[in-house]
Amino acid sequence: MLKRTALFEEHQKLGGRLIDFGGWELPVQYSGVLNEHTACRTAAGIFDVSHMGEVHVEGPGAEAYLNYLVTNNVAKIEVGQAQYTAMCNGRGGIVDDLLIYKRSSGRFLVVVNASNTDKDFTWMKQVREQSRTRFGAFTLTNESARYTQIAVQGRKAQEILQPLSSVPLAPIKTYWFAEGSLLENVPAIIARTGYTGEDGFELYVPWEKGPDVWRAILDSGKPHGLKPCGLGARDTLRLEMKYALYGNELSDETNPIEAGLGWVTKFDKGDFVGRAAIEPIKQAGAKRQLVGIKLLDRGIPRHGYAVFGADGQERVGELTSGTMSPTLSIPIGIAYVDTKSAAPGTRITVDIRGNKLVGEVVPTPFYKRPY
């Protein structure tokens, strides 16, 4: 039996095409991936992301614990601020990438990938048990079933949400959040975060209030061109930004340096899980790197396709994701390639059904918002 979010019936009413996504029954599309992608890029899109996991870490020892658990420096964020980070195993492999929201001193909301929620929570408990003496007291609770999470992304997002919000949205800076209410009495965490490359918000509300909030946003957004967007558009939007997707770009076997997450891996903060494995990689340089590529020939690069050098002979890497970019109308992909082939401008070829199609390593993100 697939798990359903509180918005399941809303998706049915909107004609969403429901699929099994990591054990969750969620819409891959409503009106069509291209249409939804374009709506988000030019106006706004609304996404049900309630499948994401939410973990509360609370208590005097919470900050020290999180700072040991993840790669980024949690001590740097202030109350009301969010932080993107990786969480690694002892070998430096990525257990998950996640967001940490600091709600007050010693109170954190940790948001993890849906399909990793159980694995992550087990790992978080294990790290606590193994290193209990390092930290003060704190509680760790998996609250995933208590939240409906809705993302409203696009240049019109603030205009659409403001009439529904008790707090002014304009002062909320990127990667900051406010706690207030929506529809007057629905408590909400309103965060200026997202996974699309557009301005926008991610909203955390009580599970059972999800449908009310969802419908109110759809109504408010209608005159602004807001469209419900499925997992298909979520994937193409993140791909145009080269945002990593766990399971594609990231896994327990990839390290943050090769995955391009060096910027959220801080060696000046003291010890953290995986540090001993990651620091030598940082010093020596990663053997392979995650890069953006575009194809010059006609064809679509996809997850798993092999990447070769310009001569088509030497294998230099593998695609982790790929699509026809809806915004740029060119075939784009993300690939791990040997460091010698990672510089923008490097000619490569991609093996698509036995044909070696010519492409090039390009600077990323592929898309930059024009406002």
Partner: protein, 128 residues
């Protein structure tokens, strides 16, 4: 959706229609709808000889890669360049302008063995 009765259909969601001595082949409306936004099409060169059920090309949507199977054996006499240059035409006119290839059949009897519109409609229903 009523499927045109002027042609035959396959379980791989292709249609085949007689046109003079050639057979025109395309994908069905059900196929384009299931695929979603079609963004890339690969077709064989004219002159290629296909066996029945042989893969002759690929249709790709944003999310999916789908092989095309020849409903019958024959020689390719035409490939639709218009649809190669405008793959979304498949979403707009799967049963019309978005035909894919024309075949000169090597065994015309194979055509008669394909499903008629009514049988195909029943088949699509059975998938739901």
């Amino acid at each position: 959706m009523a499927y045109p009765a002027d042609r035959k259909y396959t379980k791989e969601h292709e249609w085949a229609m007689k046109q003079g001595k050639d057979i025109v082949i395309g994908v069905t409306d059900h196929a384009q709808s299931a695929l979603g936004d079609v963004v890339y099409i690969e077709l064989p060169s004219v002159g290629r000889v296909l066996k029945s059920h042989e893969t002759f090309g690929v249709v790709e949507s944003i999310k999916a890669v789908s092989d095309l199977f020849s409903p019958l054996a024959g020689k390719v006499t035409a490939a639709n360049d218009t649809v190669k240059n405008d793959p979304a035409l498949v979403n707009r006119a799967a049963h019309g302008d978005a035909w894919l290839i024309k075949l000169e059949p090597s065994n015309p009897a194979e055509y008669d063995a394909l499903m008629d519109a009514k049988a195909y409609e029943g088949f699509v229903q059975s998938l739901k």
